[in-house]
Structures are given as structure tokens and as C-alpha cells.
Symmetry: C2
Subunit: 227 residues, 2 copies
């Protein structure tokens, strides 16, 4: 068993296996987008993928039950679509603290394409929503996105190292503001995209209402939030 | 060969195969997030997935070359991360015209989760960016996202039918404004999330600059834009 900073101990072998599957699926998604094999080969790949699906579907959790490796008290989410080590959708962003905020590097492949050669504008907003929300968590607060605004100044190139930054810029009652940007790793001071948003900590009665059905693997009520 | 409204004819058999692989990969991603099989089974699934990857990677396009099935003149993009039939990341949104705008239905599984039981706020912004941009295209214009603003009024539940709407609300020179919302299919008039943004048609010299390296499958320069 292994323990994160502040989190419940978790099964390190299971974590390694979830991470390995996440990596393999990200490589598969990337290959599917770049592939130029003939139709018959694509169909064979689809059939093989369905065999893998059947293997994984042999035992499943209900969607209201958190994955065994998740810990809502430290916001550890292994299948988060931006940061989750097990998520085939996530780059995944590897976030660290720096200079009173958060920073992450990413290089996005053609699976994230919008205009030819560039990152989809909605993918930039997806990454920024997560990173700004993570900055709110890192500041010892938490909340759900209430507002998000993005300014797109220049297109964000694919297959190019990017640097993403976020920090809390204000807090009042249950509302916390955060701001951040996406830039080229080689030109980090010139934002390609900037983002600003507000996160609101739900009232206790809203937490109860929103997350009434959510349990951990043992069946215990497990809403998100500071303990 | 098959022809879309206004698009170049395409290979219908290849389109069917790309669509089949996209479906199979979306099912695999969903199974990977719900799975509770032991670590050894996850590792076996990862190894099998890598075999599928190797099959697909046998022939690959450079990222500057559009997929054979894409047609930039009608904005047909088979691997678009929101609408692409071949994208493992996309729900995919199936968009239709209605009442002077666009509408799409979607039901999002746990791969798109943010707060437990709810769609990630950034996923809502990803879908809205695409749908609003598609509304700009459907109005006979086109552009790249310049600004996007989202208001999150209530959490968007997972595994629940949703209705997404978008329409153009203004246009001036190269700038077009669009607005839209996400609501429950059972309560379509009460937005859970609303969105508003601006799309800018790049100047011809910017198109040349941004898309200089982009070619179709025959090697011809193929930037996006109205022909």
C-alpha cells in the first residue's frame, strides 16, 4: 500500500496497472487518428478492440461508485478526462506547484485537433477549466465551475511542447477566482490562450443533494469536499 | 463513392470502417473507466491494446496531411474530438439544423466525469465551443474561436440524455457571435450551462501563414475555408 500526500493509502500495484492501461489506450487513440491502413485492417482492429472491451467489462462498477483508487478527500481521480492516469481522453496533464500557482507541460497530438495543425479551441478550454479548478484546490479551497472565460490570441500548435499555468486571483465567501494561460514552452511569457473563471463551493445542503448517491468502493457515502 | 451535401465524393466503405473503429474505441474507453477487473487483467488488456496499436500504426499519415475522408471545403473532419465518427474522444455529437440554429443530443458516460456523477465543466465547454463554431459554419461563415464564455448554472448529470443548442446571434465584418446552451432533454428550456463566443475568419494572409503545411492525401495544399 502506498500513501499520497494527505490521501488514503492505495494499492500501488493496481495504480501501476491502471496507469499502464491508460498509457496503452492513449497510444491506441493516437494510432487510430494517424492510421492510413485499409478498411479491412480498420475492421480487424475494431474487432480486436471489442475483445479487449469484453475482457475489461467482465467486472464493472456502477457509475455512482467511485473507482477504488479515487480519494475524494484529496481529489485524486484516476479517470479524470484531463489529469487521470487511467483516462484515454486525458493528455494527461501532470501538474506541479510553482511560484504560488500551478504549472503543467503538455504536447498534444492530432487526436486533439480543431483547425488543421492546431489544438481544438474546446480542448484548450477543457485543459484550462481543469487547471484553474486544480489551482483552487491547491489553494486549500474547492468548488465547481460557475463561470469560465477564454480569450484566444493565437492558434495553439499540435505536437509542440506547451506550458500551462494557473493561479488563484481572488476569493470572497464561497466564490474563488482563478486565471491562467497556455503558451509555447519556448515562449512562455506570450499567452496563446488566456482563461479566467469562478469556482463556487457548494453549500452543505447542495453537496448532500448533488452527491447523495455517490459511494466509495465499500459502499460508504463519499461526496467530494474538504474533510 | 459517396457524396455529402457539397463535399467531394468519398470512399463509403472506408467511411464505414473508420466509423466502426471509432465506435469500438469509444466502447473500449467506456469499459476502461467502469472496469473493476484485477491488476493482472488490466495489464493483459494493455498488452492486447498495444497489439491493436501496432496493427493501426503499420501505415500512418504525417500530422500535416489531412485524413483521406476529410474535406476542408465542407469542414468534414472524421477525427474531430467532438463530432468525429472516428474519434475515440468524441461522444460523438450528431448535429442537425433546427429553427435557424443547430441542435444535438448526447448522453455522456463516466469517461467525461468531473465532480462525481456529473460532466466535467471543461467537457461542457469543449462541446459548446464545437457546437457554436458549427453554427457559424452552418450560417455560411467560418472562423476560429476568438472568445468563449460559459455560465454554469446547475451540474450536468452523466448518463442522462442532454440537448445542446447553438445559433448565430450577430455578425460584423470578419467576426461572428454565437450562443447556445446545454439542458436536460426532459427539460430543454432550462439551461444547465450557457455559452457565448466570437469566431473570427482569418485574413487570407493569416490562412496562408497558419495552414502553409497542410495538404490533402494527394499532397495538394488544402487549407480550411470557403471555396
Amino acid at each position: 500500500m502506498h500513501s499520497d500526500a494527505g490521501g488514503q493509502p492505495h494499492d500501488a500495484d493496481l495504480m501501476a496497472a491502471v496507469t499502464e492501461l491508460g498509457s496503452a489506450l492513449r497510444e491506441l487513440v493516437d494510432a487510430s487518428v494517424r492510421s492510413t491502413v485499409p478498411a479491412a485492417e480498420l475492421r480487424a482492429a475494431a474487432a480486436d478492440a471489442r475483445t479487449v472491451t469484453a475482457r475489461l467489462a467482465a467486472a464493472q462498477r456502477p457509475v455512482t461508485q467511485l473507482p477504488e483508487l479515487d480519494d475524494p478527500a484529496v481529489f485524486r481521480r484516476v479517470h479524470n478526462p484531463v489529469t487521470g492516469v487511467g483516462s484515454a481522453l486525458a493528455p494527461p496533464l501532470d501538474i506541479r506547484r510553482e511560484d504560488g500557482g500551478l504549472v503543467a507541460e503538455a504536447t498534444l497530438g492530432p487526436a486533439y485537433e480543431g483547425p488543421p495543425g492546431y489544438v481544438h479551441g474546446g480542448v484548450s478550454s477543457l485543459l484550462m477549466d481543469q487547471l484553474l479548478g486544480s489551482a483552487v484546490l491547491a489553494a486549500g479551497l474547492w468548488g465547481m465551475t460557475a463561470q469560465l472565460e477564454l480569450g484566444y490570441h493565437r492558434p495553439v500548435p499540435l505536437v509542440t511542447p506547451l506550458v500551462l499555468r494557473a493561479r488563484v486571483v481572488g476569493s470572497r465567501g464561497r466564490r474563488t477566482s482563478a486565471a491562467g494561460s497556455i503558451a509555447l514552452a519556448t515562449d512562455p511569457e506570450r499567452p496563446l490562450v488566456d482563461a479566467r473563471g469562478e469556482w463556487v463551493t457548494p453549500r452543505p445542503e447542495s453537496v448532500t443533494d448533488y452527491f447523495a448517491a455517490i459511494t466509495d468502493v465499500s459502499g460508504q457515502y463519499a461526496p467530494p469536499g474538504r474533510r
